[in-house]
């Protein structure tokens, strides 16, 4: 039984090919069950964030409605948000703009790669510090690499206050 064990096995005791195939199939089946048993809950746990991505959102008051026609203003809101296992307070910045059709609310993330844009009042333009993206006061791309206009939040004016719908 020691070193060289490559001597041929006796065929009179070896299982016949059918039995060999049958047992092999059973082994494969058992292995599949065992793998499934551990992978099913584990994959469920790992992919949990996928099922949590469509958050309901809520209307949040962001500022008093004293915005003049054509004016753009930055508003900061503090929101309690669920962050993994904890609830934390997080600051969000939005830009509110009033034009003839009503209110617009922009997310301050550049649509190119997500840098934080800044509004320059004297130029009535948004500028992205990263790659020179420029948007006009209605969120449309003026120049630079951004592929699409600034993304918007729903916004409304009610009882002298401006409310923004935040998906958090």
């Amino acid at each position: 039984m020691n070193s060289t064990n490559n001597e041929p096995l006796h065929d009179d005791q070896a299982p016949n090919p059918e039995r060999r195939k049958f047992l092999g199939g059973l082994v494969g089946l058992i292995n599949a069950v065992v793998v499934l048993v551990v992978l099913a809950p584990t994959v469920g746990l790992i992919t949990a964030p996928l099922r949590d991505r469509n958050r309901k959102g809520r209307w949040v008051p962001v500022m008093d409605d004293d915005l003049a026609m054509g004016e753009t203003r930055e508003a900061t809101v503090e929101l309690e948000v669920k962050d993994g296992y904890r609830v934390t307070t997080r600051q969000y910045v939005v830009y509110i703009h009033r034009n003839r059709n009503g209110l617009l609310c922009f997310d301050p993330a550049c649509t190119h790669l997500g840098c934080r844009i800044r509004f320059q009042e004297e130029k009535d333009r948004y500028f992205c510090p990263c790659h020179g993206g420029v948007f006009d006061s209605e969120g449309k791309v003026v120049s630079g690499p951004p592929p699409k206009p600034l993304s918007r939040h729903e916004v409304k004016s009610e009882g002298g206050k401006i409310y923004v719908f935040m998906k958090v």
């Binding site: 039984m1 020691n2 064990n5 041929p8 096995l9 006796h10 065929d11 005791q13 070896a14 299982p15 016949n16 090919p17 039995r19 060999r20 047992l23 092999g24 059973l26 082994v27 058992i30 292995n31 069950v33 065992v34 048993v37 551990v38 992978l39 099913a40 809950p41 584990t42 469920g44 746990l45 790992i46 949990a48 099922r51 993994g84 296992y85 904890r86």
Partner: protein, 396 residues
């Protein structure tokens, strides 16, 4: 020799065509043959499937495979748990609570991991006892045994470091006692305590240290040791029964692999049952100032813990260091302590008797600990015999 009863030499070649080497080099080989030509993977698979099993090898030789499966389970479930776990005193408890009660699949994955650790200890002890009573540690398999004992130690370290991570009362106080046990080592006890715990008290650095050891050092060590262990097992082949049986060796595949699979199915089935029927709980958050809690270690450390309780003052070091140390060193050195070539238990009576006495001793104390464990770990009033004081007296 009937070649059809063996795994064929090439993945896509009928066994009868063993000599037809050019099949591998034909214009459009199957992808299996293509890969075989470049990696030789089939030769490896074939060698292992055709591994000769001496007559008499059977159900007792399936435990290693079950142990390996359970360890892979720990790796998979641990990977998922680590995605949601935070190793800091501010987040550990809350993150484990979210895993256990909020996240889909969290309770079952944590249950598989928690019960898996107990299953591993049970199967590992059975595997070790089988090897011992069959005398399989003898020449030329001394190093297989030695590496196995190292794996044993690594697994105990896994359970000790993993036990702290939920950062609840049970976890915290078991670790306090565990680290104080290291403090009883003469001379270097205090330094050892600080080194293991990352500070003079169990706290933030203890948690991050245990986490780092649990998910980096130990898995890497275990993988290396298992590879060496498996290599040695295959190199020296299965030892076979103590009394040689008549007959020719059989290939590992399919008969023995089938037995392995059945045992894996039963073991994993039991594990899943436990994970569903007894889901993991979480006690109150770790409270270093609390006096309401009676700490107890995980059940497989209870024997040691009970021994510590019966030691007279000043003799704690016997239970904390000397007794477990002697048993551990004895396990490591077993193949050199028992050097006779005889594998039959009757021909190595002193080894059998000594080991049986030690096993009975550990079993008795473990059983005593299990019987005396309060149900649900209800906060027990601190009495004069309270383990909390014993833990404290070790260093006070």
């Amino acid at each position: 020799m009937d070649f059809r009863t063996l795994t064929p030499e090439r993945p896509s070649a009928p066994p009868e065509d063993r000599s037809e080497e050019e099949r591998l080099h034909r214009e459009r080989p199957s992808w299996k043959d293509w890969l075989e030509l470049r990696t030789g993977w089939w030769g490896f698979v074939r060698k292992n499937l055709n591994e000769p099993m001496p007559p008499g090898v059977g159900w007792w030789q399936t435990l290693g495979n079950l142990l390996l499966t359970l360890l892979v389970f720990q790796f998979i479930t641990g990977f998922a748990l680590a995605m949601y776990y935070t190793p800091s005193p501010d987040g550990a408890y809350q993150s484990v609570r979210a895993i256990t009660y909020d996240l889909p699949g969290g309770s079952i994955v944590r249950g598989l991991h928690m019960w898996g650790s107990s299953f591993i200890v049970v199967v590992m002890v059975m595997h070790t006892l089988r090897t011992f009573f069959w005398g399989s540690y003898k020449k030329p398999r001394e190093l297989t045994w030695l590496v196995g004992v190292l794996i044993f130690q690594v697994i105990l370290a896994f359970s000790f470091t993993g036990y702290l991570l939920p950062w609840d009362q049970k976890a915290y106080w078991a670790t306090v006692v565990g680290i104080r046990i290291a403090g009883t080592v003469p001379g270097v006890g205090d330094a050892l305590m600080v080194l293991i715990g990352g500070g003079p008290e169990v706290g933030a650095y203890t948690l991050s240290r245990f986490y780092s050891i649990h998910v980096m050092l130990l898995p890497a060590s275990l993988m290396g040791l298992i590879l060496i262990h498996l290599f040695l097992v295959r190199k020296h082949h299965i030892a076979g029964p103590v009394v040689l049986k008549k007959g020719k060796p059989q290939p590992f595949y399919p008969a023995q692999l089938f037995k392995d699979a059945v045992v894996v199915l039963v073991g994993v089935g039991l594990l899943v049952y436990f994970a569903y029927a007894f889901p993991p709980a979480l006690e109150g958050i770790a409270d270093p100032t609390g006096t309401e809690f009676s700490p107890r270690p995980e059940w497989y450390f209870l024997g040691l813990y009970e021994l510590l309780k019966v030691m007279p003052p000043g003799w704690e070091v016997v239970a904390t260091l000397i007794a477990p140390g002697i048993v551990t060193i004895g396990m490591f050195l077993l193949p050199w302590l028992d050097r006779s070539p005889h594998r039959h238990p009757a021909r190595r009576q002193w080894a059998i008797v000594t080991a049986t006495l030690i096993i009975l001793f550990i079993a008795t104390f473990t059983l005593k600990g299990i019987i005396e464990t309060p149900k649900h770990h209800a906060p027990a009033p601190v009495t004069s015999e309270s383990p909390a004081e014993i833990g404290a007296s070790a260093t006070d």
